[in-house]
């Protein structure tokens, strides 16, 4: 580890190195067919790991998704299903 004077961190957003996806027990799976693109899942994600892809629509970043399940709850059309992570 590099120790900076005064413990100053000069690498903004560097928690991206910490893949919190490993915390997950349940995995949100988005049914793109059912999705109405309201953006509620995006708005309510505490980890900011849902984004809008111009081609695919809303996508979930499984590197960071902790599997809280908020997105599934707030989806007005039940397009997100929480499924048990395998291994």
């Amino acid at each position: 580890m590099k120790y900076t004077v005064g413990a100053v961190i000069k690498e903004p957003g560097s928690t991206r190195r910490n893949k919190t996806g490993s915390w997950r027990i349940f995995r949100p799976v988005l049914d793109h067919e059912a999705c109405v693109h309201c953006g509620r899942c995006y708005m309510y994600c505490p980890d900011g790991c849902i984004s809008l892809d111009p081609e695919k629509g809303y996508v979930i970043d499984y590197d960071y998704c902790k599997g809280c399940g908020i997105c599934a709850k707030v989806c007005p059309v039940d397009a997100i299903e929480m499924v048990l992570e395998e291994d």
Partner: protein, 383 residues
């Protein structure tokens, strides 16, 4: 050439702060520091000093605000005393841990209880381990000169530690004497423009300051602070001698100021305004006595002190504070660096008890008798 004014110690401090052109001041009044805050308010109100003045609601917020301002990349100042310094205690560690070059003056005053507004060093000694550089002054001239030098020391790239400039409450803070003030442009040239070195809160280059440092990093940062203190042992004399070259005044090597030590059989080690009275005693009554004035208590120039006291007939410290249940702080530090030298310990001048000429003579007697080496001798006390 400067101009001589007859002013009190608080004014000396304020004048120096004005001369170095600080950007943000946050301070809360407390006796005997209050006039510093008043003088600076006046300077800002008159436009003599172009600074932001934050009228904080406590000393805790005073130090917190200057931490915030310093981290944003400007030169800052605060001042306090006694209970106010105690209230800042927690944040003092943070200021040094973040390596912010803050300068603060402390008009030394005793701590309650009983409540006491008069001088001793209990307040700053209690902050000994906060990793602030501590410089003690003997005269109002020394306050002015030391505050100016403090900015150079604190802002030095190899140091980057906050500096506490300590001067005795009332004995200096409220005493008028002649002080030479240098032209402000020359002081500003000496101190230089403030340039943040290691951190700055700026959206152009986002940094995170004051993060969580766990068991895997905390100790490294603390060792780095210690190394910075050791660097200060080199930087303080450099700044002292550069100041001398420019303005013609110096205080020993900036760390300690020996007085008549070479010819002395007995050496007194002391700090602050009492050093003046000791010099007077040496001049008028005891030419066989010497003084080591400790100007820098942190970092502690222990090796220099050891070299000067080795081989002397008698050595004695005067502490204006105590570590109850053990030995007082100055004695402890001297002994830690000179374990083979017999050093007597005296405690004097707590809570504004005047340290008179006869008290200094008694201190010398304690040393000559070899008393006080394992238990401090209290001078001029009735219990």
């Amino acid at each position: 050439m400067g101009e001589v004014h007859v002013v009190n110690g608080n004014y000396s401090a304020a004048e120096a702060v004005k001369a170095v052109d600080v950007d943000v001041i946050a301070a809360y009044p407390i006796t005997p520091q209050t006039p510093v805050v008043e003088y600076l308010s006046e300077f800002v109100a008159n436009g003599e000093l172009d600074a932001e003045f934050i009228h904080v609601e406590s000393e805790h917020s005073a130090i917190s605000a200057v931490v915030g301002a310093s981290a944003t990349g400007v030169r800052v100042f605060t001042a306090t005393a006694s209970q106010g310094l105690a209230l800042m205690h927690e944040v003092l560690f943070i200021a040094s841990g973040m390596r912010l070059p803050i300068v603060m003056t402390v008009a030394n005053r005793a701590l309650s209880a009983p409540i006491n507004i008069w001088c001793d060093h209990s307040d700053t000694m209690a902050q000994r381990d906060t990793s602030w550089i501590q410089l003690y002054c003997e005269s109002n001239q020394e306050i002015y000169d030391t505050v100016i030098q403090a900015y150079r020391i604190a802002e030095n790239e190899d140091v980057l530690l906050p500096v506490m400039v300590c001067y005795d409450g009332f004995t200096l803070s409220h005493t008028l004497e002649p002080v030479e003030f240098e032209p402000e442009d020359e002081i500003r040239e000496f101190v230089g423009e403030f340039e943040p070195i290691h951190c700055k809160l700026d959206p152009e280059e986002p940094m995170t300051l004051g993060p969580v440092g766990g068991p895997d990093s905390y100790m490294e940062f603390k060792k780095m602070q210690h190394e910075a203190m050791k660097e200060a042992l080199k930087v303080i004399p450099e700044v002292n001698s550069e100041f001398e070259k420019r303005f013609g005044r110096s205080y020993g090597d900036g760390l300690i100021e020996p007085y008549n030590v070479d010819d002395a059989d007995v050496v007194i080690i002391a700090m602050g305004s009492v050093c003046g009275t000791i010099k007077h005693v040496i001049d008028e009554h005891r030419s066989d006595v010497g003084l080591i004035k400790v100007k820098a208590f942190r970092p502690f120039p222990g090796d220099d002190i050891r070299r000067l006291i080795e081989g002397k007939d008698a050595v004695v410290t005067i502490d204006r504070a105590h570590s109850y249940g053990s030995m007082p702080p100055l004695w402890t530090d001297v002994k830690a660096h000179a374990p083979d030298v017999e050093v007597s310990s005296t405690i004097a001048g707590l809570g504004g008890r005047d340290i008179r000429v006869e008290d200094i003579l008694e201190v010398i007697e304690v040393a000559e008798k070899g008393e006080g080496t394992d238990e401090p001798v209290w001078i001029n006390v009735n219990v």
